[in-house]
């Protein structure tokens, strides 16, 4: 496949030519020429690329939801969802249901912050999708500090949770929001430290460079196995899945910080959770599992998505096997277990770099 | 862990318990009958707390199984029925206390056994028997503010209260 931009620019040029032709037919030649000029074409190209990336990311995310439902069903000796072919339509049915539900805003909430929290959350998550390259050609934004930016945006979510929990004016939601903040300080440091090893070995924050480095040398899971494990644990905590879903621990806090959300707001929150899961899996694949590299009989994008599904399968497996931890335990886990491991991993990376093994 | 079967070594048989109670309380408490693992007794209202103190301290009765009430409008009395179990002796003592129906008051045994707390509250809730010295004698199963005592026999069922 050609470069995503080139490909879509071709479409955009054709589309704008069509519109320009329409205006030509209306004898408005100046307007037609303006449509065919590079500026509007570039604008439409960027817009279309964003749309395509969003749609693909969205589809992958809801397929992850489907995978979770089916695999979790098999883990628990049941069938999982049954709507449509293999249960694939369940997510669309859920989305439709959430969409047509009545919008209920409780009286005592802080309306602006209450509405802002899902928007921040879904906005930040959608932005993340744009930062993930799926292959050399499928790159929306090839930034040199890509990895840093991804994690900067990742950390916006706890803020949204805190805001939403506080604005909902409910004791459960406040506790959920506070837990999100407490959880943040426990996993964020080991998470970033586990990435530092990769960055030291590769010498770049650019996600494309990291993959190219792995194509040239070896998948970084081999020298950085400890880092990979730390990353997996911390990433599960980052996207708040069982066993680390403290902010929405439904046994004690009803639905945690999202107790007061309903309808499409709740749907968006749930969707953003899976988009973040998709992004976190992508980072794991990009950093440790060779990104889109693989035998070239199929497209690299497919390899990439297949790897994401495999990583997500491990997450589902963990979710099926384990129970939820408490705040105290995640703090102690983060600081006394993950942190030293991440530091050891960092030392290994520095050692490898110093002695020039890789 | 060593398993014990039936009566623990050093435990008292129901006959022993009955004898000790008779010895300690020549009046006020009557032991009506004895069966395997069971002792049946009747106690006066005033003697109940002493009896309970005695069986708790000297006879190892550690557990209140049940406190219940019975209403006898025909005989113009109410009863509270206590089932108190001893883990060490594997025996249960049933104590029946008669109360006058117009002023059903009896000493609470909650200070001795915390397990009697909610049973006594429930008996108060259902029969209006007042347990003197109970830490929190309030409605428990019926909503706060109920004015009737539904388990009394003169309570007319089938109407909303």
């Amino acid at each position: 496949m050609a470069d995503l931009y080139t490909f879509i620019m071709g479409i955009a040029t054709w589309l704008m030519g069509l519109i320009g032709g329409l205006f030509d037919w209306l004898t408005l030649h100046g307007v037609g020429d303006w449509f065919r000029s590079p500026g509007p074409i570039a604008f439409v190209t960027v817009f279309l690329v964003a749309l395509v990336v969003f749609i693909v990311g969205f589809l992958v995310s809801i397929t992850l939801i489907w995978e979770e439902r089916k695999v979790l069903g098999r883990l628990m000796d049941r069938r999982g969802t049954q709507v449509g072919v293999l249960g694939l339509f369940q997510n669309f049915a859920d989305g439709l249901k959430a969409f047509i539900k009545e919008i209920i805003i409780p009286t005592e909430v802080d309306v602006w912050a209450y509405n802002a929290a899902p928007i921040i959350l879904i906005g930040a998550s959608a932005l993340l999708m744009g930062l993930i390259p799926m292959s050399d050609s499928w790159t929306l934004a090839n930034i040199n500090g890509g990895l840093l930016l991804v994690f900067a945006i990742f950390s916006v979510a706890p803020l949204a949770i805190l805001v939403g929990g506080w604005a909902s004016n409910n004791k459960y939601t406040i506790m959920g929001g506070m837990r999100a903040a407490a959880q943040l300080i426990s996993y964020e440091v080991p998470l970033l430290l586990s990435l530092a090893g990769v960055v030291i070995l590769v010498g770049s924050f650019n996600l494309g460079d990291i993959v190219h480095f792995q194509e040239a040398n070896t998948w970084l899971i081999i020298p950085q196995f400890i880092g990979f494990m730390v990353f997996m644990v911390a990433a599960i905590a980052e996207v708040e899945r069982i066993p680390f879903d403290l902010p929405e621990a439904e046994a004690e806090l009803v639905e945690g910080w999202m107790t007061e959300y309903g309808g499409m707001r709740f749907g968006l929150i749930l969707l953003s959770e899976y988009i973040r899961g998709f992004v976190a899996c992508s980072i794991a694949v990009l950093l440790f599992l060779g990104g889109w590299s693989g035998p070239s009989f199929i497209w690299p994008e497919i390899w990439f998505i297949v790897k994401i599904f495999i990583v997500f399968f491990v997450w589902i497996w963990v979710r099926g096997a384990l129970v939820r931890v408490t705040t105290k335990q995640i703090l102690s886990l983060g600081w006394t277990r993950l942190m030293p491991l991440a530091l050891i991993n960092l030392a290994i990376a520095i050692g490898l770099r110093m002695f020039g093994v890789i | 862990m060593e398993q014990r079967s039936g009566l623990a070594p050093g435990g008292l048989s129901p006959e022993d318990i009955a004898a000790k109670i008779k010895e300690k309380f020549p009046s006020g408490v009557t032991v009506t009958s004895v069966a395997p693992h069971r002792v049946f007794a009747k106690a006066d209202r005033g003697a109940l707390l002493q009896l309970c103190n005695f069986i708790k301290d000297s006879l190892n009765f550690e557990h209140v199984s049940c406190v219940g009430g019975v209403d006898w409008p025909a005989e113009n009395k109410m009863q509270t029925v206590y089932h108190i179990t001893s883990y060490a002796n594997c025996a249960t003592l049933e104590v029946v206390v008669d109360l006058p129906r117009d002023k059903p008051e009896v000493d609470s045994i909650t200070p001795l056994w915390g397990g009697a707390n909610w049973h006594e509250r429930e008996t108060y809730d259902m029969f209006g028997i007042v347990f003197l010295g109970h830490p929190k004698l309030e409605r428990i199963l019926n909503p706060e503010g109920t004015e009737v005592f539904p388990f009394r026999k003169d309570f007319v069922t089938g109407r909303r209260v």
Partner: protein, 248 residues
């Protein structure tokens, strides 16, 4: 007691979470292979096999019913009511009507029915759109009388304990297994009410003499083989002259 058995040891965690994940993974593998399907049943399309003696809704075999009111009396929720229906060859008779909205499917009506007219039908899809639809009149209540649906009860009398008896069916009514009404002669006023209400035709009024006015003095005689112990005569006796005599 024999030598004390050792209490079981709680297995200690090894490798943090390896064993739980292994167990769950094994289940996944087991349920994902083609022939081993998950245990859940896709209900409207797949159904479980119902065993013999399954207690579904109560049902009526119209031919066997004698209208004895036993089911009405024993029903703990009071959901059975005997209503008058017109039957082709019997005229106006009383037959049970069941309010399934109240029924708690305890099976007492089938268990106590002396003629096996009430049975437990293996039907479990009983939802209806209105409460009125849940009231099953005697005709709606009917169900095909298959062997195995009737509840047969085997009891022994207290006096037979230890005599090697395995119990007799109370449905086929061997004489002496059921309570029978007993008459208190002084109270009887010869009104023949008991004969009229008896559903099993077990009461016959026998003339025992004449009173001073020349009217016949009649006393009921109970046929133990026919009596179903329904207490209709006891309940309907205007002078409370009848009571049930318990078999011991």
């Amino acid at each position: 007691m024999a030598e004390p058995k050792k209490s079981r040891k709680s297995p200690k965690p090894k490798l943090i979470m390896a064993r739980p994940m292994a167990v769950v993974g094994r289940e996944t593998f087991r349920t994902s292979r083609g022939l081993n399907r998950p245990v859940t049943v896709l209900y409207p399309w797949e159904r479980l096999v119902i065993p013999d003696g399954y207690r579904g809704r109560p049902a009526l075999v119209m031919d066997k019913c004698i209208g004895c009111h036993i089911c009405e009396k024993i029903c703990p929720t009071g959901c059975i009511e005997l209503i008058e229906v017109e039957l082709p060859n019997k005229g106006k008779v009383e037959r049970p009507q069941v309010n399934l909205g109240r029924c708690m499917i305890c099976g007492y009506c089938a268990e106590y029915c002396p003629k096996n007219a009430m049975i437990m039908a293996p039907e479990y899809e009983l939802a209806a759109y209105s409460r009125q639809d849940l009231i099953y009149d005697p005709f709606k209540l009917q169900y095909e009388d298959r062997p195995g649906l009737a509840v047969d009860i085997f009891e022994i009398k207290p006096s037979e304990i230890g005599m090697g008896s395995k119990g007799k069916s109370i449905k086929t009514a061997p004489p002496g297994m059921r309570d029978v009404p007993a008459l208190e002669d002084k109270k009887c006023i010869s009104c023949s009410k008991c004969e009229k209400v008896c559903p099993a035709e077990a009461v016959t009024m026998i003339e025992v003499g004449k009173n001073e006015k020349g009217r016949p003095i009649k006393r009921p005689k109970f046929d133990e083989a026919l009596c179903v112990a329904c207490e209709q005569c006891v309940d309907n006796c205007p002078k409370d002259a009848l009571s049930m005599k318990e078999v011991k």
